[in-house]
């Protein structure tokens, strides 16, 4: 009890009971210990001379990066186009897989909560846990470098993302209209298309466009592991220490990200 009565009869107020207070401090102390321990493990092999040297290095690279090499732009258009395609086609592919997956996984639409739903959840978690660039690393080894590996990598990562948000939206729908459609004698597929789908279209549109926006960002770096797009140029420019080209590429990436954010905001406004 936070309020207790002292021996002389006055009421004492504390924020927590003393036991809770102790647990509270013990928790923070444990967190502090964890931090100190992990910090020491992490920095065991750190060469502090490099760290101390970093500001000078930064100044040095900074001076070599400016001005950007604008003439390199002519070589960037094609990879930029590839980058946008990887994001767009990957997102479309992911949507095509994620929509049925979401319906199979949502508690209120799954054909079997015992068997199908856990499998769906497993697929979603596996897809979500691995970043696009790691999927790309794996796929480039399997399929060889190129845009196809990039598209599939984007799709594999996005399936889980879209399916998760979508099945949560499906689980939150209003059940009454669904009952009403069922009561008219509609078949289960019609109940899905007329009762449930219209309720989740705003969520669906929002989620897909949001993921496309993220995917543009992701697609810019997939080339670092050989999956096509503007990242390939970034990789080769970094390897040859062509800093002015790196600057140009960073500017292009930044510009693309800003434009895609603007486009996705526009589309979301138009649809919802």
């Amino acid at each position: 009890m936070p309020v207790s009565i002292a021996q002389d009869g006055t009421k004492l107020w504390q924020r927590r009971t003393s036991r809770a207070e102790w647990l509270h401090y013990a928790g923070w102390f444990a967190l502090l210990l964890l931090f100190v321990f992990t910090w020491q493990v992490m920095t065991r092999d750190t060469i502090w001379a490099f760290v101390l040297d970093a500001p000078r290095q930064a100044a040095d690279i900074g001076s070599r990066m400016w001005p950007p090499r604008w003439s390199y732009m002519s070589a960037v258009w094609k990879p930029l186009w590839d980058t946008i395609n990887m994001a767009t086609l990957g997102t479309l592919l992911a949507v095509a897989v994620a929509v049925p997956l979401a319906f199979l996984t949502a508690r209120n639409t799954t054909p079997s909560a015992r068997f199908v739903r856990p499998v769906g959840l497993l697929i979603i978690v596996s897809s979500r846990s691995i970043n696009a660039i790691i999927w790309a690393l794996v796929l480039v080894t399997i399929l060889g470098p190129g845009v196809l590996a990039g598209i599939l990598a984007i799709a594999l990562r996005s399936i889980g993302f879209i399916a998760k948000l979508l099945y949560e939206a499906i689980e939150e729908i209003n059940i009454e209209p669904v009952e009403a459609i069922r009561a008219t004698g509609a078949s289960p597929q019609q109940v899905l298309a007329w009762g449930i789908w219209p309720q989740i279209t705003p969520a669906f549109a929002g989620i897909s466009v949001f993921r496309w926006d993220i995917n543009i960002r992701e697609a810019t770096v997939l080339g670092l592991v050989g999956a096509g797009g503007i990242g390939v140029n970034l990789e080769s420019s970094l390897n040859t220490l062509a800093w002015p080209q790196v600057t140009l590429l960073l500017l292009v990436i930044l510009g693309t990200v800003v434009v895609s954010e603007w486009v996705s905001a526009k589309i979301r406004h138009a649809i919802i």
């Binding site: 009454e176 209209p177 009952e179 009403a180 459609i181 069922r182 009561a183 008219t184 004698g185 509609a186 078949s187 597929q189 019609q190 298309a193 007329w194 009762g195 219209p198 309720q199 279209t201 705003p202």
Partner: protein
């Protein structure tokens, strides 16, 4: 038309919602189902179209035994029963017309309905009922752009376009203001008379029920404790249904309103043509 015998519903939690309910409703009769919350009114009408599975007993619609139908046959049987809901249960993002046409889903195939290519006969039916309930001007509006009374009219139109034999009506006025409530109740009763429909109307407003329906059934704890004409609702009967309370005011109110309604009937009718929107 509808014959229910010994209907019992026990939920998985063990709650007994309905116990040996027996009643029958002839064509053209509107029955008001009253009772306290949790008396099983909602379970009763949902057992009829099997949105809730009955545990025991038989439910017959004409010669058809609803309680033992396969899934496919149930779909066909549901086409003969229109349902109207308390919160209207419209699909908000579909247009008024699409909501009404959803009443024909049991008659058209999946892809036809998916691409909104309904037979012209269904379109004609939909236009006719929309005109009857007074929503001709709102056909392509989204359902969530309408007022409560208009939304309930869409719900009624959706049930009517099924061309049902029976209407199941679940608290049609609980979300509406008093005036709109009366308009909606009047519309339902008129439509049942025009089309010779049997109807079961769940309603918690005793005065409103007395005003419009020909027969009242009182449920208490899943059992039928009253079945008779509206006049038969004496304070004793109401006490049996709802528990002890001073009921004279409720009954007097209903009578007065009845008289008032009779006195201003022509005016009300004029105001309440379907074109008037709530």
């Amino acid at each position: 038309m509808l014959v229910i015998e010994n209907l019992t519903k026990r939920y998985a939690t063990g709650d007994l919602a309905l116990e040996k309910v027996t009643l029958s409703v002839p064509a053209g009769q509107v029955v008001g189902l009253i009772g306290p919350s949790g008396a099983g009114k909602s379970s009763l009408i949902r057992c009829v179209n099997r949105l809730v599975e009955p545990s025991e007993g038989t439910i017959k619609l004409g010669d058809l035994d609803l309680s033992r139908l396969s899934r496919r046959a149930l779909g066909q049987a549901r086409r003969r029963m229109g349902m109207i809901f308390q919160e209207y249960a419209l699909v908000d993002r579909l247009s008024v017309m699409e909501n009404v046409l959803s009443g024909r889903l049991g008659y058209v195939g999946f892809w036809r309905s998916f691409f909104r290519r309904f037979p012209q006969a269904d379109i004609d039916r939909a236009f006719a009922v929309l005109e009857r309930v007074g929503l001709t001007d709102h056909i392509d509006k989204r359902a969530d752009a309408l007022s409560g009374g208009q939304r309930q009219r869409v719900g009624i139109a959706r049930a009517l376009v099924q061309e049902p034999d029976l209407l199941l009506v679940d608290e049609p006025t609980a979300s509406l203001d008093p005036k709109t409530s009366r308009q909606i109740m009047r519309l339902i009763v008129e439509l049942c008379a025009e089309r010779n429909l049997a109807a079961i109307v769940n309603i918690h407003d005793v005065a409103l029920a007395q005003m419009f329906v020909q027969r009242i059934i009182g449920l208490r704890k899943g059992k039928v404790v009253f079945d008779g004409p509206p006049d038969g609702l004496t304070p004793d009967v109401l006490t049996e249904i709802y528990g002890a309370e001073d009921w004279t005011a409720t009954i007097r109110k209903a009578e007065e309103e009845d008289e008032q309604a009779a006195a201003v009937a022509p005016a009300v009718l004029a105001r309440d043509t379907p074109m008037v929107t709530a």
